[in-house]
Subunit: 366 residues, 2 copies
């Protein structure tokens, strides 16, 4: 009981994807597996037929069921025809330009700090910090992904920002990286945002393998740490940490770090650290305003990737949300700890405006 639908003609610029989207003046049909479909889904429907269906659906606003009734098509068929109509560009969506990144700030930061690449994400006003993290994570995900080569070793730190980031990273089964956590388990109570957890997820996501670092992030004292590293099989992993190709890290402050938040950084500890000149933290290690690790007892207890190693990585990307990290960030950058940065507008502005208390003793670039 059907349409003698036949009258093959025209050029169907078949496209994969689902929605033909156009933005601003130009128009970009969504990508996808073109050639395949071109062959697999030939001219089953006339452009004219699709136009009619599209017209009735989008302009006349008939729902698919009614529309099908009118043209004697099943609802499923209408749905499929609409998909094809979008693919062929018979229907296009124009979305007002919304540039989620501030290119200008990016340039300025890149120039000022001589960073490899910077993403500054515009966050809508009135977001809660958590929203902001999610938002920035979302919009910097592809940026960050693009900075990491397939088949490499990637170190992943923990924290809420990175915790927000990982699930947004585009799945990519062919990236096949080796993921290592920047540090071990911080607490017996495993948090979702601990580096090992995140690493595991990332490895799964990118179809890579994960190497666990089954050590505590912090040992009670130096001896313990050394023996852990000497005897444990984790030693291997730990050493590989130093030879990774890239790292995705967050930047903390003495008052706001993984440890400060979840741990024992007593007021006393805090004072000690500040006394040592600590101004920021990365991967569990505190550094001064030159970006050099502080020579505090912490240093002897932490089991994580070393700052000196980070410096040597071809790529180290920091994900920072918020405007209270300028000092730490500046220090880390000046110290050559970072190569790239993803940050929100607020943070970017603060960073640009931040003036180190003392003369910025620009430690040479990496």
């Amino acid at each position: 009981m059907n349409r003698p639908e036949h009258s093959a003609t025209f050029d169907s610029e078949a496209t994969g994807g689902r929605w033909a989207v156009s933005v601003g003046g130009g128009m970009s049909v969504c990508p996808g597996r073109l050639g395949r479909y071109r062959v697999k889904t030939p001219e089953v429907y006339t452009d004219e037929q699709l136009r009619v269906v599209a017209h009735l659906y989008y302009r006349e606003q008939l729902d698919q069921r009614r529309l099908g009734g009118l043209l004697n098509l099943s609802q499923a068929k209408v749905s499929r025809m609409l998909t094809i109509a979008r693919q062929r560009g018979i229907v296009r969506f124009f979305v007002a330009e919304c540039e989620p990144r501030d290119r200008d700030l990016e340039r300025r930061i890149e120039r000022k700090f001589d960073l490899e690449s910077v993403a500054v994400v515009r966050t809508p006003d009135g977001m809660t910090p958590e929203n902001k993290r999610q938002y920035v994570a979302y919009f910097s995900a592809s940026f960050i992904t693009s900075l990491i080569s397939p088949q490499t070793k990637v170190v992943v730190a923990g924290g809420r920002s990175i915790g927000a980031l990982i699930p947004r990273l585009p799945e990519d089964r062919h990236r096949g990286v080796t993921v290592l956590p920047a540090l071990g388990v911080v607490d017996s109570v495993v948090a979702q945002v601990d580096a090992p957890e995140l690493g595991r997820v990332l490895a799964r996501r990118w179809g890579g393998r994960f190497m666990a670092l089954d050590t505590p992030a912090i040992a009670p004292d130096r001896q313990t740490r050394d023996s852990v590293l000497r005897h444990s099989k984790a030693r291997l992993v730990w050493r590989r940490l130093g030879q990774a190709d890239a790292a995705i890290v967050a930047v903390g402050t003495p008052t706001n770090s993984v440890f400060a938040n979840r741990y024992v950084v007593s007021d006393a500890d805090h004072e000690t650290l500040v006394g040592c000149g600590a101004i920021g933290e990365m991967c569990g290690r505190f550094f001064d305003r030159r970006g050099c690790e502080c020579d505090s007892p912490w240093r002897e207890q932490v089991i994580s990737v070393e700052l000196e190693h980070l410096k040597a990585f071809p790529q180290v990307i920091a994900l920072v949300v918020g405007g209270d990290r300028s000092a730490a960030l500046t220090a880390a950058i000046r110290g050559g700890l970072l190569k790239s940065l993803a940050i929100d507008v607020e943070g970017a502005r603060a960073l640009l405006e931040y003036e180190p208390v003392k003369k910025p003793r620009t430690v040479g670039r990496k």
Copy 2:
């Protein structure tokens, strides 16, 4: 729930504007009561917010739930924001132009027959007759509506075509017409497409009132008819029929009319009618090729609007689907029975090509 054959469904409550649609080069934000909303729903959201949501939804293809999670909005809110984004034109749909009407044929018919206005609807190939009716009805609905002034008296005939039309007529609570059926009940078994039924529906649809004609469409004989009209209170209604401002009618043939289809038009009757020169039918009345009512017994028994009255109406719109009505149509037009016409391409072509023949042999018999 499958194939509702043809919808006995109601009207889809056109809920104001749902989609901002743009076509071709121009762009029209969906109508609806913008002004109203503009006032009722002032700048609750900034354009920027809407852009972000629209971007994430249309370009990044997040579903509303995920998107809401990202921005900390309920799914419902996202849905509403998208609606507003469409209304404000932040999102626009471009649909390839699809001209459902054939302007050229319309011109030619208007010119050739000196009709007031003509709509020729392009029907896709391979439709069943029922589909075609639905389709033509759909696309001629606004055309027909535009020809009928508010606050006037409208006569409505029956039949499948008009039955398909009525539910497609745009709702318009301010039209406030008075609807009268072209004729009474044809049978004790009321069909959905009988004039009284259709009239009722139309009146509801246009927020007007309906005047019932509680008489049979056909009386057994002249006496009965006269007495029905004399005594019945329907007389009033019947007389008003003659004073209406507009009519929406179909055109039948002696072999294919309301009566032929549903009733007693025996072969004998048929012969009688043809003998009288009947070539077409409208509102239960048969006419010859000059458009004059045939002087057959039928004429004395029918209780319906008179052709002479139709002639006097400022507006009479015929809705015709199919190419087998050319003779009847030509006669009706030549006789001045019609002012406007809505027809499909096939019918239009047939009409233009049709050449009246002297011999009443023209009526193709089946």
